[in-house]
Amino acid sequence: MLKKLLVGLTLAASAAGFSLAAHAAYPERSIQAVIPWGAGGATDNVMRSLTPYVEKELGGKVILNNRPGGTAVIGTSYVLGQQPNGYTLLLGAENPQLYPVLGLAKFDYSALYPINLIGQNVAVIAVHADSPWNSMADLMAAAKANPGSLRMGGAGAGALPSTVHAMISAVDQLDVREVTFGGDGPGITALMGQHIDFMPLSLAAAKELIRTGKLKALAVVSTEEIPELPGVEPISKTLPAIADYLPWGPFWGVWVHKDTPDDVKQKLTAAYAKAVATPEFQAFLKNYGAKSLNLSGDEASQFLNRWQSVTTWSMYKAKAIDIAPDSVGIAKP
């Protein structure tokens, strides 16, 4: 009995010593990084491009693991349920910030610690090449002339198109039929085939098609023209009141469990900050039509709070959601 106890104690002590040593040498084994979206999607592409540079900075392997499903609820809750030791990362996008108001889950990103907010995308209002409209004002006029008959491509509750639609509806009237697709790709296909009339899209998804004239951009969802789309008017030209909600765009970032030891958090933060700043990755982001953010710590938290507040309140104002943001603790912008 005594012997057993002794053996147990020794084992426990050595385990404790081992784990202390492990902290000092983080990462001492490969890190699992969960991508809560499918292979080949925007989040997946960004993370697969960034990870090699992170591995160089950390001096360890980062194993990417796609756990898609349920608007990223599944992958995100998986990371929340893992040991807070810094060996499970979440490489995600903006969606969890909307879970409380959509009733998808009880948590949002405040349940995790932001290591880095990598970059942000901008949204554009796109129509097919043969569309009679050439500006946002044309689209708004057409929608008002025939309320409820234009077909807008969507990607489900909480996705980019419905959020942009909510922002427009919050400041003006845009009564349309929302046709829901499984994502940007199928939506763009339907838009090119003229089965829908317009669709708010991320610049990353639409850039090549706009450049080649297969799609036409009516407006950029921002307050000023952007260098990637010269000559395309900012949406605030037609809808000045929307400026309150801008800048807005989907974003990508890296999170760990909140209770992860501070030294691990610091090490990861430093590694990701350097990796995002590498000229190669910056070039990738630019080519992808995204803006670099490279935010961490308090700056990242502020960004997340503002994004959540702006998005949810505009959705609530446009009656796109039933749950009041302040009832789940989201302050007004």
């Binding site: 292979a39 608007t71 008959s149 339907a190």
Partner: protein, 504 residues
């Protein structure tokens, strides 16, 4: 022109690329043969793995894996009645009965040759008509996808052996399983019982592995004392006469494969099922009755699913839109390598297009070589004692399921479906219709709601579109004829047609 040819032959002349394509094809066959290990997964791992490589090398390896993997699924379908991938479900219908007759070797040989023919036909279409087919694929509206899914569900009529009622029940059950998870429009849970794990739905490969793999393993417990069929391993390579005999069917189903494969969001699985159905409808005198080891039932799906690969590349290379899950990952790979997949890809980086065409052809040649190698050894797998075979199947099923999303929950679901599938089998239900429902149910759900939303929930407007749009009209008429063909109306019509001349 000379540039085009040099791009085309790039993979053939560079020893490095040649080796990578061969390696990819070889690995692909075995990845494809293990249920659960999918081409999509292998390719997405490769994207990270080949990050620092030259883009051509990465693409060569990926093309090899893709071609090998789509073919590899037929191996386990024929030998064990477990499709290695959803695109091989239809292969099992006649492939496994062939193995039971002792013709596993010949079945693999025939499926290899037909896959290569399908693959080459798909590549040829890609090379010669990609822009035309790409534009054609865009013409399909949500309502047309709904009609295609409906047409697919009508296959229940061909798949349900014995009782149509049981087939319809099985397909309905599959459809309900396919609907589990978040509603695509409102993001509310459906049939999730409040479980987070079910929010993403039940992966159809999980259902497939359970129903085919585990259920088959349990079912074999009934015949423990029956000695395994001796496999004939001579004459495994089909004769020229045999290939020529099936060539017309093969070419017809290759066309089905390319066209269905080129539609974004519809892939080899549906193409193969439609091809099987086509064979069953058009071949009047099959070598054996369908479902009991007809060679035609093997030729059709194997040609179609390989031809669908060429089809899937069409929208990807001409428009930057993925034709299926694998090409979606390849688009990601191109983006990561700094290219801009889109309509300008063929103009700005023409080498990618012709290199892919040349590489697909090359991978198909390697497939012919590797596919026909080692068949004797594989055929012997069926002769393994049950005490070894059954545990082997179960281990493969568990490993394969876990590897899809690294989820133990899915392993439990898979085992649950296995047990359930066993009872379905015992009571004479077919597995094919269930899988059909799981694959097509969500597609019907989505496209129906898209079609209805497009017309502002006005069924009259939808009906008008069905009759006025050429694509929709063809599909509508096709469905109506198939439906009427199975009712007394058709007999009555035929009689009337025959009688009319007499009365005059």
């Amino acid at each position: 022109m000379s540039e085009t040819i040099s791009y085309l032959l790039m993979a053939w002349s560079d020893p490095n690329l040649l080796l990578l394509t061969a390696l990819g094809t070889f690995a692909g066959i075995y990845i494809g043969a293990i249920p659960g290990l999918s081409v999509t997964m292998a390719v997405s791992i490769l994207v990270s793995f080949t990050f620092s490589w030259e883009v051509n090398s990465a693409l060569a390896l990926i093309v090899g894996i893709y071609i090998g993997g789509v073919y590899g699924g037929s191996r386990s379908a024929i030998l064990l009645n477990i499709p290695g991938a959803p695109s091989s479900v239809a292969t099992a219908f006649d492939g496994y009965p062939l193995a039971k007759l002792g013709e596993a070797g010949r079945a693999i040989g025939l499926s290899t040759v037909m896959s290569v023919i399908g693959g080459l036909a798909g590549t040829l279409v890609l090379a010669s008509a990609a822009p035309v087919i790409g534009d054609m694929a865009l013409k399909f509206a949500p309502r047309d996808y709904f009609l295609i899914a409906a047409l697919g569900l009508l296959l229940v009529g061909s798949l349900a052996e014995g009782s149509l009622a049981k087939g319809v029940f099985a397909a309905a059950l599959g459809t309900v399983i396919g609907l589990v998870g978040m509603d695509p429009v409102t993001a509310q849970g459906r049939f999730t019982l409040g479980q987070v794990e079910l929010m993403g739905g039940i992966h159809y490969v999980v259902v497939m592995i359970g129903l085919f793999g585990v259920a088959e393993a349990f079912y074999q417990l009934h015949s423990l004392d029956v000695p395994a069929v001796r496999q004939q391993v001579t004459k495994i390579i089909p004769s020229v006469a045999m290939v020529l005999k099936f060539l017309p069917l093969s070419l017809r189903t290759a066309v089905i494969g390319v066209l269905v494969g080129a539609l974004p969001g519809v892939g080899g699985d549906i193409a193969a099922l439609m091809a099987y159905d086509h064979a069953k409808r058009t071949v009047k005198k099959p070598s054996r009755p369908f479902g009991q080891g007809a060679y035609e039932g093997l030729v059709a799906p194997e040609t179609a699913n390989s031809a669908a690969v060429g089809g899937a590349y069409v929208p990807m290379l001409t428009l930057g839109i993925p034709g299926d899950a694998v090409t979606a990952v390849i688009i990601g790979a191109l983006v990561i390598h700094g290219l801009n997949p889109g309509p300008m890809l063929m103009v700005e980086s023409p080498h990618i297009f012709w290199f892919t065409v040349g590489n697909l052809a090359l991978a198909n040649i390697f497939l012919l070589v590797f596919g026909l190698m080692g068949i004797k050894l594989f055929a012997k797998l069926v002769e393994l004692p049950k005490a070894m075979l059954i545990p082997l199947i179960l281990v493969l099923c568990v490993v394969g399921t876990y590897s899809i999303n690294s989820s133990m929950t899915e392993v439990y679901w898979m085992l649950g479906f296995g047990l359930f599938g066993y009872f379905l089998k015992v009571f004479g239900f077919q597995m094919g219709p269930v899988i059909l429902g799981v694959i097509l149910g969500p597609m019907m759900d989505n496209s129906w709601r898209q079609a209805m939303a497009s017309v502002g929930d006005n069924p009259v407007e939808l009906l008008g579109e069905l009759l006025s749009n050429p694509v929709s009209l063809i599909l509508t008429v096709g469905i109506t004829l198939i439906l009427l063909g199975k009712t007394p109306v058709s007999g009555w019509l035929k009689k009337k047609c025959k009688c009319t001349p007499v009365t005059h």
